[in-house]
Symmetry: C2
Subunit: 494 residues, 2 copies
Amino acid sequence: MSKSESKLVAAEKPRGFADKLGDAASAEERVVQAVGRIYEQWGFDRLETPAIEYTGALGKFLPDTDRPNEGVFSFLDDERWVSLRYDLTAPLARFAAEEWTNLPKPFRRWQTGPVWRNEKPGPGRFRQFIQCDADTVGADNPASDAEIVAMGAQALEAVGVPRDGYLFKINSRRILNGVLGGVGLTGDRAEKTRLIVMRAIDKLDRLGVDGVAALLGAGRKDESGDFTKGAELEPAAVKRVIDFVTLPTDTRQGVLAGLERIVGDTDEGRAGIAELAAIDAVLSALGVGDARARIDPSVVRGLEYYTGAVFEAELTLTVGESGKPVKFGSVGGGGRYDDLIARFTGERVPATGFSIGVSRLVAAQQVLGIGAERVSQPPVVVLALDRERMGDYFAIASELRAGGVRAEVYLGGAGMKAQLKYADKRNAPVAVIQGGDELAKGVVTLKDLRLGARIAGDLGEDREAYARARAQVQQEVPRAQVVAAVQQMLARPD
Amino acid sequence: MSKSESKLVAAEKPRGFADKLGDAASAEERVVQAVGRIYEQWGFDRLETPAIEYTGALGKFLPDTDRPNEGVFSFLDDERWVSLRYDLTAPLARFAAEEWTNLPKPFRRWQTGPVWRNEKPGPGRFRQFIQCDADTVGADNPASDAEIVAMGAQALEAVGVPRDGYLFKINSRRILNGVLGGVGLTGDRAEKTRLIVMRAIDKLDRLGVDGVAALLGAGRKDESGDFTKGAELEPAAVKRVIDFVTLPTDTRQGVLAGLERIVGDTDEGRAGIAELAAIDAVLSALGVGDARARIDPSVVRGLEYYTGAVFEAELTLTVGESGKPVKFGSVGGGGRYDDLIARFTGERVPATGFSIGVSRLVAAQQVLGIGAERVSQPPVVVLALDRERMGDYFAIASELRAGGVRAEVYLGGAGMKAQLKYADKRNAPVAVIQGGDELAKGVVTLKDLRLGARIAGDLGEDREAYARARAQVQQEVPRAQVVAAVQQMLARPD
């Protein structure tokens, strides 16, 4: 063959993409299944759309980027630009517009699958990842936002997050518009100032109240001496915005009362309060109290993208014995986007939705040790000591599988020692051995590899105890009893 | 808003791509889950690889096309060509080569996901579809081929295909090489003739023995008078090939004996017979008899791609009362490909695998009415007659869900009549109604929509019977008993 003489191809994948094997691959699937079961139960129908859409149909609605469409993989197909979907919302808008006349309205759907972002890859930043979304199209009722939040909460619990381990933060674009309007920042001319104010609010966690107040006023000098120009609001306006973002968020009713004081004098503010009050009412009816879903006026992220309510889901679990809270950041987010479908139909169609970042949630699961049951146990390995007797070994494996035991036959050409090494590499709990001696006696030898590893560690020094324990590790059983004997070994405590 | 004034975007997806909603989307997922559970049980680990690979890493190994790489979606990323994967085998080869030192060897993996083909779309021909593959890398033992076949058979049964409803056909590239060598067609010079012979064999179903014999000899004139030049084999050679492809395939042992006579005098033929005999032995040990897996020398498809054993899975079910067999063609295929990983490593790594075309299997399921339980029942719809009382309606839906009933609240702004229409469109079995009158009495009205549709059809003429039945259709129950009453309605026979 001339193949091996020709230039070899590098075995590598493009940067920013990942392979996932075994539990790593199954964990995402398991999360999606658990979440999907909840969404189905709430009346959401599963939708699949293609990975590839016309670039124009996807539009420039990528959230959280200043450079729309730069973040998208695009290429020419039949002289038209197509793109890999960057989220599951833009394809939904295209689908809903295309199928509008046939759909029950309002239309609830859930969807999962990979999305692609053409961004500079970095540590932990991937260019393909799984999302799991639920959206309601055609409902302007704030109850549909509340439903999405309550269902999202149930979904998080379905994947193992305890009830006191997460928090939904809810805000509304309208409320923020009310605040900005209340301090005179309306119209196109004030757009730049509005942006400065929103960026300042977004820094509350990092800079504290004084830092934000400085940025709302004349500006702020940081530790390095660099000066950031401020929004130059009047002191009264600064106070109003600060009062707004520092409203105590303990109870939704408390926040609503506070908002009434701060933005109740503007049309947009009143509309936002009514919206949030309606969401609060349905959440309460669904038993989702203040401990799980708060109204938080400081949530700004994504507001440019959304047109009404906006929600973020955070994990608040503590890890380890020190009880230190671990910041995972957001595991999901969403909100109301009433403009996406109008691009196709010319008519405003109200819509709201929520997206779970599946990979992020799986990462959190692993650190927190929640929902971590393995999909598959490591397999029992049946050694293959005689290539002429593969049928016998496969028969043993087949019987084990019929007995509910994950089992495989060694398929290589190596000797006994290498085969046991293979079994170790597979984390096999038990090896099943039938060489010529065993065959003649009508028996098999079972080796409890987990127990073997344990006593090798514990009893390495004590020869007598080691010999006694060894008798338990290696066991000869009649061929007919192999399944029962393996099941017994697997039942031994770890 | 200026949005609706600007040019509208067409709500369309690229040709050759499909949207799938509800059961259509869930059916594929259900097949993949059932198949995956079997593969896991046999010791195969799940693998996920990215949708995007370097074009060079994918190589030109697309089976069943004369125009390699034309069938692939490719684009530039950071000045390097990348492609959407066209199957799951090429990415496996890249992964195995990249991770070879870390993997247990032999390495078993299963994988599922979309693949993309940049082909001219047509009716029923899609450019994105789901495959579900199992492969073993690093084993040259024919037992690994047999395992793949037996496991594939179990997978088909796991998705509802009855044991007598499918057939695996097994052949080997080596056997065909033996036949071709036996009639003198060896070396590069005979390549063109070998192709003519293989194409002739592939037409056995369509042209019958005489047609194939003509194509092996001088050539063949078809009904239209067009003449196809033949391979111009000697009559003895024609007889040998015809004997080969018409061997009765009823029993594997019978075919093996026949092959011994026809190709036992060539090295390649003997190697192929030994390979198929070893496969037969393991299949028999696993209880897969002649009725489910045959050796069929006429299987030619894909032989250019594979290097040893090759297998095809066909559905042989009959449909309807006439008992006419329905031809679905192949629902899966695979074989041994020992050259794919050498492209990266320079060393030949034996490998074998099997791929199920998930969409094709789902289509077969639907026609045959197998494995067709719905993932979700249609939801019970709670009407929303008073926008101020959304919380009450959501509380009812929440109680129903806690009782195991899929339930949703109507979220639009329409009146009662339109809401009942919506419930019909959702195929809702029951509508739950609580207007002001019901609220005052502390009751809800339940409407059995399935029963309602039935009596409207049956009893439309008989007013008295209709009135009696109507009492059953519409029922007033105390608010506290709504879940139990709905469950009772759902339990009514269809």
